[in-house]
Symmetry: C2
Subunit: 443 residues, 2 copies
């Protein structure tokens, strides 16, 4: 079956930023098989979809997420010690396979509605996340997290490794879902276990490694105190700085760290809204990009960044670069859109499959309606995407030739059920939070 | 005719942040005449609107805008000298009464769709802006701008004052539209004219004064070089620091400036997205608030901030405060919502009429639908509004008891026509920009 999208403003995000306007895109099976400007070809039996001048562009790549955590969205905002007061106790008590499935389903719904077609996730009970992504039809990197702080699904690192092995066995050959190993962070993994993961990674070179890196001053202090080095240097010496490492956050860096990261050709996922909301600092995105590091954009979990679309990250990532540079020139809008698409795909080593619209690549694309008055007039489509477009403008989403959303209607998931399940689970959290508050502040 | 909104999650934004959930609001004529929790009163002949659990809250107050400039939205983003290369030449050539009417109409459409019910505007041909706001049904402060750089509607300050007088004469007694005088900025007005405006203001105490203040390092250098003082001190000595001054931006401030502003009890409109996008810096909002200054939120013109709703400003204003404070504690979400409503109204001296839902105040309110999966679960409604809600969630808007939007349908303006007119005028700008580029970069 051929699908032909016609009368579209096609932003390919290929190397030369080709546009076709009005243009067409031909899809056969999971693949883009043709593309061009002007009148579309005549193909017998093709399903023709007139896009009415809408933008058609690559689906967005969310390079860092914790899908299960959407059930914590907006919990105890503005409370400085919320991680230790609420989140870790709640995670220990309530994070089960079922909770992860419910949270991940809600996250998948939101991402499809917001234009994300590929996501890199790391959390617990990660086979549940993999199942949700499979059902949703999302392209995904799913990382089983390993940590030393008594996380909800493993008591020892040996148990954690067993979870990783199980995930890899189950999803090794999945067309869309790639299993991954995810040490939580240097301080919560420890150098010895990082070395073990590095060895494991050498034996499993196709399995991406995801880790939080240089996220907080606490982490920097840990590295300095325990190892007399920067956290990046500790990670390098443990053997984890490799091209298959997706390092999330990367805030607390000096120039030597960036050089180390660049020499090792690692990949970076910046999470501007999460970092900004926590008051943690501004990631030196332009410095990293200038050093040749691929930098993609991540939403982080909904507990930290609240929304999982990338439109919400565009103004922050752009403003932060311009504020660091003291001018409106750094990180032009088109580069922000590249970070959200082809550069994000490069960060996940999926750039040969997705991230741009090119013949032979997978048909991962979204359609953006231009009816909203706030989008007009249009001088530049990338500026429109970065500073005026919103998730509600995304009307269609396709991954590997399969529609995940048409005319805002989801094709693979039930949004009403997803919300209902998440609300129900949140009610038990609220009861526990009241108990915690009473034990902290006895009446 | 009585309108009764029932089954609503009423956020009043009154002094004690009362909520009614489920709650009801009674409106007679332009006024809120009743409000409460539980079952609504039975009123013969009332129009009853079941809000289905949606949030009903005060309409938002955009404390700084240039409505006419929406026709420049997204023009030459990322070009450092765009003000002098494009904007001022385009303004000189194309800013006419018609252009201001077209731009302001598009802006009014966008603001109503995005939950803004009150706006403070300053631009040229301001009687056109006043007419648009009157037609739209928006509550507005409309400021005729005065400047020395050959602006499009006056060659001399005497001519500028005549425009102000005309505006004041026409709108002095309008129920919703308040005329205002708007010296562009200290450096573009000059101290002598600022003194003249201060004298005029003493004779016209009910006319608010709007001015850009401490917006850029260039302005700070001008003040230092020309007067040996800070720009705030120059403004104070000219007599303009008064409680009826609405000062926009206020980035480049030291502690002495904030003390001066606080002693004079001026009001501030912060424009985080516009400032961030220009790489200009971060306004010390918490310092100003701690010094007792009322601080509202502004979108700035769409050329600078791109969108005119306040949701787009919430994450930036919040993140900036948390980044300056190095923690997630500063400026809690509820304070951001207060800035967008009752504090914004206070900035415009309209807080006795609007900005909160209280019996006796004007019925300026919006309804926010909670269907979007990205809004759930809900732990705190203010966190939801600041970090997850978007303009597309606003379904209804009312000003002074009159519906401006119902179920996303505008009642007073034609959005399709507004877009069409703006696109047409933008096409002439694009031709002129090509001429400018050719004269700068001859082939």
């Amino acid at each position: 079956m051929t699908i032909l999208l016609t009368n579209a403003w096609v932003l390919t995000l290929d190397d030369t930023l080709s546009e076709h306007n009005p243009g067409w895109v031909q899809i056969d099976g999971s693949t883009i098989t043709g593309m061009g400007s002007g009148p579309p070809p005549s193909i017998a039996g093709a399903e023709i979809i007139d896009c009415g001048g809408d933008i058609v562009m690559p689906g967005m790549v969310n390079t860092h997420c914790h899908m299960g955590m959407s059930v914590f969205r907006g919990l105890a905002e503005d409370v400085d010690d919320r991680l230790y007061r609420y989140i870790l106790p709640l995670e220990r008590k309530f994070v089960t396979a079922e909770m992860v499935r419910i949270g991940s389903t809600l996250s998948a719904v939101e991402m499809i509605q917001g234009g994300v077609t590929t996501v890199a996730d790391m959390y617990y009970f990660e086979t549940e996340v993999a199942e949700v992504c499979d059902r949703a039809g999302l392209r995904a990197i799913v990382g089983q997290t390993l940590a030393d702080f008594d996380p909800p699904d493993h008591k020892t690192f040996n148990q954690g490794f067993a979870l990783v092995e199980d995930l890899v066995d189950r999803y090794r050959d999945h067309p869309l879902v790639t299993p991954s190993i995810a040490p939580h962070a240097p301080y919560s993994t420890g150098r010895a276990v990082m070395e073990r993961i590095a060895d494991w990674s050498l034996a499993n070179p196709d399995v991406p490694v995801q880790m939080h890196l240089a996220e907080s001053t606490l982490e920097v202090e840990w590295a300095r105190k325990t190892h007399g080095q920067s956290t990046v240097a500790v990670t390098r010496d443990a053997g984890l700085l490799k091209p298959n490492l997706i390092a999330a956050h990367c805030l607390q860096l000096d120039d030597a760290d960036i050089t180390m990261m660049s020499e090792a050709q690692i990949c970076v996922a910046t999470n501007p809204r999460s970092n900004g909301k926590a008051g943690r600092g501004i990631s030196p995105v332009e410095k990293m990009r200038n050093a040749g590091l691929p930098v993609g954009i991540g939403s982080d979990g909904a507990m930290s960044g609240n929304t999982l679309d990338l439109f919400s990250q565009f103004a922050p990532v752009s403003m932060f670069a311009k504020l660091l540079g003291g001018s409106r020139k750094p990180l032009p809008a088109v580069e922000v859109v590249r970070m959200a698409t082809i550069e994000g795909a490069r960060v996940l080593s999926l750039n040969l499959k997705t991230g741009s619209l090119e013949v032979g690549k997978q048909a991962d694309l979204i359609r953006i309606n231009l009816a909203a008055p706030r989008l007009h007039p249009i001088y530049d489509p990338y500026s429109l995407l970065v500073f005026a477009a919103m998730p509600s403008d995304v009307t269609h989403s396709m991954v590997a030739g399969r529609w995940l959303m048409r005319n805002r209607q989801l094709e693979t998931l039930d949004p009403v059920g997803a919300v209902r399940d998440a609300v129900q689970i949140a009610n038990s959290f609220k009861a526990e939070m009241r108990r915690i508050d009473e034990s902290h502040d006895p009446a």
